[in-house]
Amino acid sequence: MSGIAHPRRAPPLSAYVRGVGLLGPGLADWHSGAPVIAGNAPYHPCPTVLPAPQSLPAAERRRTGATVKLAIGVAQQAVAGAAIDPASLAAVFTSSSGDGLICHEICETLATDDRQISPTRFHNSVHNAAAGYWSIATGATAASSAICGYDASFAAGLIEALTQIAVSGAPALLSAYETPYPEPLRAKRPIPDSFGAALVLALAPGETSLARITAALTDAPCDRMPDAGLEALRAGVPAARCLPLLRLLARREPGRVVIDYLSRQRLAVEVCECR
């Protein structure tokens, strides 16, 4: 196979950011959180408040846990900001863990002699629970995925979304999210609080476009947040590894950031055509 012409370096992958969703400690949504992330307003961390997913039928809404609420909440914000019909979107959901509380409850039950776990708890424990509930809530029948890269989960999700868009030409939703484990798992995987971020990405610009992003692999170390509180959030929650990228989007400032990916390679993201 030695004679094949092939690119030695990964060609950059590009897309327009058409909408953003955000939810985290002291960050109620993208609208109010953007000035904080941009550094134009002070950051006051306080516990994350999760919204009820209004788009789900009542029976489904009752069954959802914190992780689904978070993943769907940020996705809804991004879709509303993009003024796009969610039913038309492919979706990539990414997180390091599934629902930590459900996992804990199942393991506790299985450690007893009874072992009778709840059927709803079991089907909500799958890593793709948020992707499933999202498609039920929106009627989206396009491809949806649920991926995991441990601390690299955000960048892995962004790469999956960008390759989907590059190959299919169709827009896609990326929702990255993480909720904390309760003890005793929390001691082994300390996630300080819930954080989620979502992007609607498309090959073509639209009226709502914030900027165009272009991603490529790099050996450079990843960027940190100038604010100590936001840096603690970035370093503490896998989904919040996107904060340096959101900072440029919030500042509406062209530039280049390096976000965390694998130990051997990071992801450089260039931001341009800001509006």
């Binding site: 039920i136 995987r189 692999l217």
Partner: protein, 398 residues
């Protein structure tokens, strides 16, 4: 879509370690399902347990990854010269030009279940030796396999329940097509654990007997474990004759229910039609379908409806889960490998355990094996919880 070469593949399940035993079992129509004696599980059911997983040591430098799932991954990767083939490919393309995309539903969940039994009675703490990142986390599988194989390109785990490792093939194709990599190790590993055994039992989806896909009296799944892998590589402009290819993939969402399929198989149909379109084929071009065919009343009814709707009455199809059981997140990769075996050995594997065929089946469901020298194109279906569907098309070039 531009086809990829499936340069190497391997599978380890309850019907065999590696391709030789797997082919022999399929030829003999031998089922690997047996009454459940796994761990401390007390359920009246059959499982597809891979023998010898507990005796499979990990390399010393990767000892922190020690858990049943990574032991099974290691056992699977050691078969059929797979590790050597990947290392050769890494040398050819460059280690950063090979990606690693694997599927799993529960990864090393069993390690956490056992750790919860060993909590400190006073503090409630988990045992000091429990390593969450290297065992429980879904990504532990790719982290372990990547270090073992020396693959340094982009690396991801897909966890969409029972479609996980089929979707790994589709995601790897996209990454190669986008030019980010030239080759990818894809596959799936899922291993027995209490969460899935008791969880599927709580949903009343587990059969007390060996599962009987597409049988009129089918009554649920048999949970099983497997490790299956393939090496996908960018093709030269002209593929040689007899090259095994990945030529199509299709993915969809049911948008219907978390744990039961759309009754008419709407999402299944969409995934199969997309896979055919991607492969530039018509339904009549498909010589064999490896069905998802779990053996639950609702899956087989919905999938049967979708298959006859797309392909009509003459298409030949079977589920191999009567032999292997349902290997959950590994099923997509395992059954893609079974399609690769069918194309290489020119036979269509019949369905083990199916006795009285479901009368509503509207296509040629194979109970016995069938030889076919002209076998060229196979389609494999994988559907999961949350309505996550994926179909793959494999071909042997003329």
């Amino acid at each position: 879509m531009r086809p990829l070469s499936i340069s190497r593949f391997t599978a380890t399940s309850c019907i065999g370690r590696g391709l030789g035993e797997t082919v022999a079992s399929l030829r003999a129509r031998r089922s690997g399902l047996a009454p459940c004696t796994f761990e401390t599980v007390r359920l009246e059911t059959y499982v597809g347990e891979v023998p010898g997983v507990d005796e499979e040591p990990l390399p010393r430098e990767l000892a922190r990854f020690d858990c049943r799932n990574n032991r099974l991954a290691h056992l699977g990767l050691r078969q059929d010269g797979f590790i050597e083939a990947v290392r050769e490919s890494a040398a050819r393309w460059g280690p950063r030009r090979i990606g690693l995309i694997l599927g799993t539903s529960t990864s090393g969940m069993l390690a956490t279940e056992l750790a919860y039994r060993g909590r400190d009675p006073a503090s409630g703490r988990l045992p000091a030796g429990f390593d969450y990142a290297a065992t429980h986390n879904p990504y532990a599988l790719a982290d372990f396999a990547g270090q073992l194989l020396g693959v340094e390109g982009p690396s991801t785990v897909i966890s969409t329940a029972c479609s996980s490792s089929a979707k790994a093939f589709a995601a790897a194709w996209r990454m190669i097509e986008a030019g980010w990599i030239d080759a990818a190790v894809v596959g799936g590993v899922d291993s027995l654990c209490l969460t899935t055994l008791y969880g599927f039992h709580s949903l009343q989806l587990v059969s007390p007997a060996p599962c009987r896909p597409f049988d009129a009296a089918r009554d649920g799944i048999s949970i099983a474990e497997a490790a299956a892998f393939a090496l996908l590589e960018r093709l030269p402009d002209e593929a040689g004759s007899g090259t095994l290819l990945l030529t199509g993939s299709g993915e969809s969402s049911d948008a219907h229910h978390m744990s039961s399929p759309h009754p008419q198989g709407r999402g299944a149909r969409q995934a199969m039609e997309q896979a055919l379109a991607a492969a530039n084929l018509t339904p009549a071009d498909i010589d064999y379908i490896n069905l998802h065919g779990t053996g639950t009343p609702s899956n087989d009814a919905a999938e049967g409806c979708a298959v006859s709707g797309v392909f009509g009455p003459s298409v030949r199809a079977s589920s191999t889960k009567g032999a292997t059981g349902h290997t959950l997140g590994a099923a997509g990769a395992l059954e893609a490998v079974i399609c690769a075996i069918a194309l290489t050995h020119r036979f269509l594997p019949g369905s083990a355990n199916t006795r009285q065929l479901e009368p509503a089946i509207g296509f040629d469901y194979l109970r016995g094996n069938r030889e076919d020298e002209g076998l060229r194109r196979a389609l494999s279906n994988s559907f999961g919880f949350g309505g996550s569907n994926c179909s793959l098309v494999l071909e042997r070039s003329a």
